[in-house]
Symmetry: D2
């Protein structure tokens, strides 16, 4: 071996240590990936894929970093090849030239992911893999290109047409309910009894999206309360001793918690489809429902107040409502979108800001993020497309007269 090769080898091994070390069968994960990509695939492919997934699972975080480094450096696109194929295609846009272009314009790590995905259960592991990757990219931003590829693939695999909406209730399998407890991100579920209180009563519903390849893993779920009138606090909704009503007697469906479950599917949006589907299904089942509304946190309020050096007296309830209204209608990110992430989500879906409430979430988290304030976003079916359009084209925030008045009052105080 030449000196140069030797040197390169040494560098390689340092950089990809962990990914280049042979396992008990004498093959490193890098070699296995190379085998999998070069195999005409199907006969030995599944064995190789399983081997790689098993190896990955056994890796520590440094080894994983090395593995993703390999994907970044060696299984990306090769600009020269792309250039050359593109030139050929430009000169003669034939099928063969297009095929050659396609082959080189897509990085090989995408094909690797597809080949890994042959193994039963692989989809879930690939989603876990991206979860690791997203964590690693914070300190190793050069790995982000791999994430773009995985995200691209997952957006295709987790396309709405492949998802299944399933009710989640007290008859659901315990292993799925277990995950609901863990994944609930808005109003923590403290016990199985707490969970039962959100699933079993006649005036409660929960729905989630599932993917057939990960049937026991919810992707996203929404908790719904069926009420008479629009509620102004989550304490009332989740009170232990509250009186249930019959589902048929409700006129309002309140989406009071929406949680994404899979960190490895970050950036692949399901929430919009979920809400629309649930609205459609509930309307059909319960024709008395007239109002579809959220009871949502305002997670960015206090952070924004701090950042903008504004004051707000947490004991003045009316003041908090004004401040919150003002924030929701006027606080923006640099790109003009609403500052508040939950506002971005619902306004982007075509909802409007319907009402704000003080002392609506008195949990530690609720007090810390918004001094207890919450907001109802209203899904007014006939207006959704129009709201969405205004928001998408002009970033216009639609609000009820009441909220607009509150916001105006806040602005007049400021001046």
């Amino acid at each position: 071996m030449s000196f140069l090769a030797d040197l390169l080898n040494t560098v390689f091994e340092r950089r990809y240590r962990g990914a280049s070390e042979p396992d008990h069968q004498g093959r490193s994960i890098i070699e296995l990936c190379s085998d999998l990509l070069s195999s005409s695939g199907e006969v030995s492919g599944m064995v190789l894929a399983r081997h790689i997934l098993d190896s990955y699972r056994a890796m520590n975080i440094d080894e994983k970093r090395a593995f993703f480094g390999y994907l970044t450096d060696f299984l990306g696109i090769v600009p020269d090849k792309v250039n050359s194929a593109l030139a050929d295609y430009t000169a003669d846009p034939s099928k063969a030239n297009y095929q050659r272009f396609m082959a080189v314009a897509e990085p090989r790590r995408q094909e690797l992911a597809r080949r890994l995905n042959q193994v039963p259960g692989a989809t879930k592991q690939l989603v876990e893999m991206r979860k690791d990757l997203l964590q690693l990219t914070r300190e190793h931003p050069e790995l982000a290109v791999v994430d773009l590829d995985l995200r691209h693939l997952f957006a295709s695999w987790f396309n709405r047409g492949f998802l299944v909406l399933r009710p989640i209730n007290w008859e659901s399998p315990a292993d799925i309910l277990d995950k609901i407890i863990v994944y609930e991100a808005v109003h923590a579920i403290h016990s199985w009894d707490d969970l039962r209180g959100r699933l079993q009563p006649a005036d409660r519903r929960c729905f989630g999206f599932f993917h057939p390849a990960m049937p026991d893993e919810p992707l996203i779920f929404v908790e719904v309360a069926l009420t008479q009138g629009i509620p102004g606090s989550v304490q009332g909704l989740l009170a232990d001793e509250r009186d249930n009503i019959a589902a048929e007697d409700a006129d309002t469906a309140v989406f009071y918690s929406i949680s994404n479950c899979q960190a490895g599917l970050a950036g692949i949006s399901f929430g919009n489809s979920l809400i629309k589907q649930v609205v459609a299904d509930l309307s059909r089942e319960l024709p008395n429902l007239k109002t579809f509304v959220t009871l949502s946190p305002i997670p960015g309020l206090n952070r924004w107040l701090t950042e903008t050096d504004k004051q707000s007296d947490p004991s003045d309830e009316e003041q908090i409502r004004k401040t919150a209204a003002h924030y929701l209608l006027n606080a923006k990110r640099a790109n003009g979108a609403p500052y508040d992430p939950v506002a971005r989500f619902h306004l982007g879906n075509g909802a409007l800001v319907h009402a704000v409430h003080a002392r609506a979430d008195l949990s530690d988290n609720g007090l810390a993020q918004s001094s207890g304030a919450m907001v109802n976003y209203l899904y007014d079916l006939p207006l959704i497309s129009q709201n969405h359009e205004q928001f998408a084209t002009a970033q216009a925030v639609v609000a009820s007269p009441e909220v607009t008045a509150l916001s105006t009052a806040a602005e007049q105080q400021d001046t």
Copy 2:
């Protein structure tokens, strides 16, 4: 409007007539596709997607051609943009530059297909769409680039990890069995009684791959006979009056018919995985099974004899066996692969040529294509990887001594 614009418009309308005409809602499918691609998507996307799919379904073949022409000409890659993005990425391989490259290196028609696929049931329609397209490309080869994109997407969507193997038996839904009758491509099923004879007896099995988004459409299926010893004719296997045996008494599983069901999934290979999975499942269920073998047609035999000006006396059974053996071992395509398509499939899977039989398929089709000869390909579990490797690397055809001897005898006659 300028004269030029007017002219272009006229040309456009001629070329894309059918795709550019407004429907009863005043929008052409081209406009709808454009809307769907430009929409931030989710709110109105599903309505648009459904509209497009409905419009497509109502089109005649000329309109479909125009639609695919639009996809070819307007929703492909734009070389200039790719060039520019690639240059940026080469200069600075940042995440942002990579993302921009990805966005332009993939033609927009791929994104269109993904957005169409939001609608429940869309997957099946997209598969149907590709079936139409494949038919049209014969006369309109310029459309083939669209097919490459659909095939690329489908290979990802119909990845082995997403497929479900299901037994198909006399308890299966009638609508699926109906399709088995239609899709059987090797030994036609003449009636429901004929079908019952292949599904209900204890010594018969059938398995198919299904995709969760098309649950009532088999993708591929294989029919299996459980026998004592390796059978030498399909008449014996399918005889009405044959004696059944108990499944536990069988030592051999015979794959006597494999049929791809979806013309729109042409080129996406399932057969290999199917056979391997069925071998694994049957081995576990019936430990007495020792031999896994096909009873396969030799569809190219007589065509090859004609093409090579060879003669064969159809009444000389021994001669037919020699000729068939010689053909299977030596007849090649220009690229060195076996001439016979079924041979290519099974040898590529790692099977070997085990035996040839005369008077094994006396149907009109069997007599026409191979003078009634058939072949057993043997899936010898310990040898599969090795056979496959030899075939993949050196296109070496592995055969039993008996078949090799027959082939040699044929060659000696020739000289």
Copy 3:
């Protein structure tokens, strides 16, 4: 052994030959039944029960007769014991005395049937057993007491609360559809294509009752056509080339065929519950349905004309309608119930005679039994209870004015 015992033995063996002969394990079915009844049961009971059921299945008709003879003669009630237990209970109606009475007032063959029923799949076999028995009782009326016991048990086991209503459609398992073809008793199904025509179109429905212990055996099923208006002939309903309508566009549900499937469940009525359940389910699914009506054969018409020496010109359609109306309203059995069995069923359910049609069933069977005439029985929901009550108490036949007028016209002709 004494001469008498010997003689008795001989007689016994002659009478119960077949039931008293040892099988290959050296036990006769009589001994096995005795063992099963005397066993404290559970440990060896299931083995014994299976053994008995297997032995029964292998019997020829003479052996079965002997077996039922044994059940008749040896496993019935013993009047002396009943008398004695009843006297004790009358003297002291204690729990213990009641229990003793219960034990002897029920024949041991009922307990035998319950113990046989421990075995998975036994229920179906016991139903088959009663089918055999019903056939044998025609020539051996002394066996009818055994039938009364089985019927009593089956009425309890096949209680409405244990039955499951299931739609039968083109997605149903083929083995169940196979049975629908066989069991259809009103308008024969000639082929799978014929069956498909009754199940697959959007304006056709079929429903059956199933029992969880016999999940692949329909007990009774009804075929329904969704129509606009009330149809007057079965040819129209079953025509191959008819135009389908959307289910939502129908205003009428026509029950055009009801078939009992299990001869062994004769006398256990399901039809009434079935129709009521189907009316309820269809009303909920399709709120546009306003009329629930049958299109029924008149199986007893021509037989009754012959028996009563009446004439009817089969070519005079108006005359046939009058005759049929008269028959339906006036022809009675000795006990005052309608002569026509189908009339008895529907009138007993609370339906009324709505219309009669000539040339409504031109099949050989239809012409033979009623010169092609058919009748609509109307299930007029608000009137069902009242109709039923009038029929149950006064055997009053309710009919529409039109049918009443036809009947009156027929009577005026007669005089």
Copy 4:
């Protein structure tokens, strides 16, 4: 109305107060029952049955007592009628006479229960009804005859052939698991985490019998631990921090808890069938299992010691083992059966007393009932029938040499 009738009425109303009072629709439950029994039934029967069940559910305990009093006094057998029918049958054992006898020898309350059972969900309510009744019979023993009838019916309805064995695991519906927590009668389940520890690990199993008419209600369930060797304490089995093993590595299946769930099914034995079925299913799934054994409480030990004025030093472990062994082998009820109810159950099933352990159940309950002692009953497959036979005929208790020796040692101490 005559004075007498009036008097009777008064008495009647006093005795059946609650059952004879009209409800809001003006009918008492007694009148409704009478209607249901006299109706030819099917048309209005289901409405009546539902009405009765609803009325019953709304009753307080006094009203329920009145209702059962009515069933006792008015819907029992009528001796005169039975006598007369029996006399006719004895004189002429015809079918008609037998049918008449059957009709009067069965009390009408049995038919009432069958007619109530038409309503979906009624079976569960009837089981609840018997639960109430069993409670009432303690103070009102005259009602016990009604219980005998319900028990007779339930034994037929809950026949082994109608039951379904289902695994209960962490994928089971939460509402069923909820009931497992409630119904566990041997070793209390303290939380969902405790439950998870008994269901989720690879070396744990749970199985229950279900009836199709009560699909979300377990009838009985057994918890199983898969172990290496026979465990001697329940603390070890249920320890939080124990090491799990792979199911394939286990050689022993330990039935450590069997709980009947339905008080209303008391006296209808499922346990024996359950254990046998589970042994069969586990043997098939896990061929390495060689030993099937219980780890059972000895609930009667300390009570018996007290009753017989025996002493036992709870701190002397060896002494406890001797005492327990002696008790299990020698303590008898008046009728000769074992004094210990759990011993009766397992010995009756054909198990043998395999080992006794001190300090095996240190829960409060375990210490109170048996000073912490437990016992293994061994299900030795080849010996089960023989053990059962010896026990059933001679009440012989089979034990291992070790336990016999312990018992002998105890007896020698006594003398």
